[in-house]
């Protein structure tokens, strides 16, 4: 006669329970948001949190089940959960095995726009001493090919890089000649100078185009003054032409936010939609270069930007509900962190920081910087992120330089005050360049950091949607898929 045991026979005894590490944050009256070692979130009341910490929980009480499934509690002698957490943590951190995947070549500083927020200091078009030399380019390529990763992306920036198109040709050809790495190429251009020659070249060599599109014409042109005032017209024409000739997935657009953008997110999104682009990246304004000089940065704070972002995200979700797939790319990045353990090497959202380890920037004059923003700081006289020079440095000497190691190690969120116990830490990142530029310190005081406020704001918003809006949650979950 078969005999079966009741559920009670299978529960662990109280003395056999142990806690796993977790972070928490007050999230309202009598509510805590709790995150485990790999960033899975659950909400607990104050009483539940205290019961959990004191291990006053029992199989069958509901709280035990919530806590166990969220890896907050385990059987002291059990093995699978700690192995699972270790495996997931290793996966989340495995982006560290790909150093350095991105190499930015600033082929010229010359540009024919004069955007007030521009991170690039302007030099007028006819001064060719602001072009990168072929020798510098080849030395930079040596360094890029010395990075350990099997696949690198070479991105051409400026100024307006198409003003030095011949050098781009040479670099692409030389890179392809070298063996040992898979290569991706991108040109970040305002597309005003896009012609058939450039398009043919891009098509033949599989080069991606990335451009700026700040919104409808009046907004875009106000942000991007150009002699002739037709920046928007040229960008749109360029995007259309490039999509037609290269294919829709070979052309991307990025917007930059200025104070003028903050009330117009719906129009900006509609502009992207009309051009058939598959998503938008709602970025904050960087506090670098001309932005600081012209006080663009001071003009709005994290709260205003978050309101702008939320409105934009909800508009994007509405577009999806109406049947058009369209993503907000920053949310997609964060959701990949929050809903999966796939490693993300996005340079501004990782700890250890992506400076140097994620990207190296080779300036027109041969100096090498830990990030694009680090280069902009140098333009204002601050060399904190200048790692060296292509003439006398190697990949190793750059990456292992005291400057870089110092910046990365001092900004680690895993060790930083508030960050190390922050409920969002698993999904956040260190941004030593930003904090150095705004606070004079790679770590920064996070309660004063707009970066921190934005991160918390966006993640809080995404969690709210995931928990309370089932239809939108289903849309967001798919943005996190591979």
């Amino acid at each position: 006669m078969a005999r079966f045991s009741s559920p009670e026979a299978f529960g662990a005894a109280a003395e056999d329970l142990s806690l796993f590490p977790f972070n928490f944050e007050r999230a309202g009256v009598n509510q805590y948001l709790v995150a485990n070692l790999v960033g899975d979130f659950i909400r607990l009341t104050e009483a539940e949190l205290h019961k959990l910490v004191d291990l006053q929980i029992r199989p069958g009480d509901g709280l035990y089940e919530k806590a166990y499934a969220a890896h907050l509690v385990t059987g002291t002698n059990q093995k699978s959960q700690r192995q699972l957490l270790a495996a997931r943590l290793r996966s989340r951190m495995s982006f560290l095995q790909q150093t350095t995947p991105l190499h930015i070549f600033v082929v010229t500083l010359r540009c024919e726009h004069s955007c007030p927020y521009c991170q690039v200091s302007r030099q007028s078009t006819d001064r060719s001493r602001f072009d990168m030399s072929e020798q510098t380019a080849m030395r930079a390529l040596d360094i890029a090919f010395a990075s350990p990763t099997a696949r690198i992306k070479i991105e051409f920036q400026g100024g307006e890089p198409l003003l030095n198109f011949p050098l781009i040709r040479k670099i692409v050809a030389a890179a392809k000649q070298r063996s040992g790495k898979k290569l991706d190429f991108v040109i970040a251009s305002n597309l005003a100078l896009l012609d058939n020659t450039v398009l043919e070249f891009c098509k033949e060599n599989d080069v991606l185009l990335s451009t700026s599109l700040d919104g409808p014409a009046d907004l875009h042109n106000k942000n991007r003054p150009r002699p002739g005032g037709n920046s928007h017209e040229l960008a749109v024409a360029g995007i259309r032409r490039a999509r037609e000739i290269l294919g829709p997935d070979r052309v991307g657009a990025l917007m930059t936010t200025t104070e003028a953008s903050l009330d117009r997110v719906d129009e900006i999104i509609d502009e992207y939609l009309q051009l058939g682009l598959d998503g938008i990246f709602l970025r904050p304004l960087s506090p670098f270069g001309f932005a600081i000089k012209t006080k663009q940065f001071a003009k709005y704070d994290a709260r205003k930007w978050l309101a702008f972002y939320e409105r934009g995200l909800r508009r994007v979700l509405e577009i999806n509900r109406q049947g058009t797939p369209f993503r907000e790319f920053y949310a997609a990045l964060l959701l990949t962190r929050m809903l999966s353990d796939r490693p993300i090497g996005y340079v501004d959202l990782r700890s250890p920081a992506g400076a140097g380890l994620g990207a190296l920037v080779y300036n027109y004059d041969g100096s090498v910087f830990a990030s694009d923003e680090g280069r902009m700081l140098a333009e204002t006289g601050d060399d904190a992120f200048r790692l060296g020079h292509v003439e006398h440095d190697s990949y190793n000497s750059l990456i292992l330089s005291d400057k870089l190691i110092g910046a990365i190690s001092s900004s680690l969120t895993q060790c930083a005050p508030e960050c190390s116990t922050c409920v969002y830490e698993s999904h956040c990142g260190a941004d030593p360049v930003y904090h150095h530029a705004t606070q004079g310190d790679a770590l920064g005081i996070k309660p004063l950091s707009a970066f921190c406020a934005r991160q918390k704001g966006i993640m809080g918003l995404l969690l709210d949607i995931l928990e309370n809006s089932p239809e939108d949650a289903a849309i967001l979950r798919r943005w996190a898929a591979a």
């Binding site: 957490l85 951190m93 309660p447």
Partner: protein
């Protein structure tokens, strides 16, 4: 009528909170004070077996509205309570955290050692 000479400026608020130092750790007070940066400053003094915390709310807070004295006190007490809880959790979990980290990354160290 003007009162004591050391009135705080009209636009900021000052609150004093004290803790029994035999049961309240200084590090938790520091951590709570850190989280309060931008909202209020906090100075901690030791007086006998007490910690005295002098909180002055910022006239120009980085985030949120200016806090009144009761709100500031409540906020600080909540922050300290949270930090105390964090310390308790850490004490109970640092051991297993190290085990998990070793499981996650320990093999890397072995590989590196093997590779010389």
């Amino acid at each position: 009528m003007p009162q004591a000479a050391k009135l705080p400026a009209a636009s900021s608020v000052e609150v004093a909170v004290d803790f029994d130092s035999s049961i309240q750790s200084l590090s938790a007070l520091d951590a709570a004070a850190y989280r309060l940066i931008g909202t209020a400053t906090c100075q901690v003094h030791r007086a006998g077996d007490h910690y005295l915390c002098r909180l002055i709310s910022s006239a120009n807070p980085q985030k949120g509205p200016v806090l009144g004295p009761d709100e500031l006190k409540e906020r600080f007490l909540n922050l300290v309570a949270d930090e105390n809880l964090r310390a308790r959790v850490a004490a109970r979990t640092d051991g297993v955290r190290n085990v998990i980290l070793a499981l996650a990354f320990g093999a890397l160290a072995t590989n590196q050692n093997d590779a010389g």
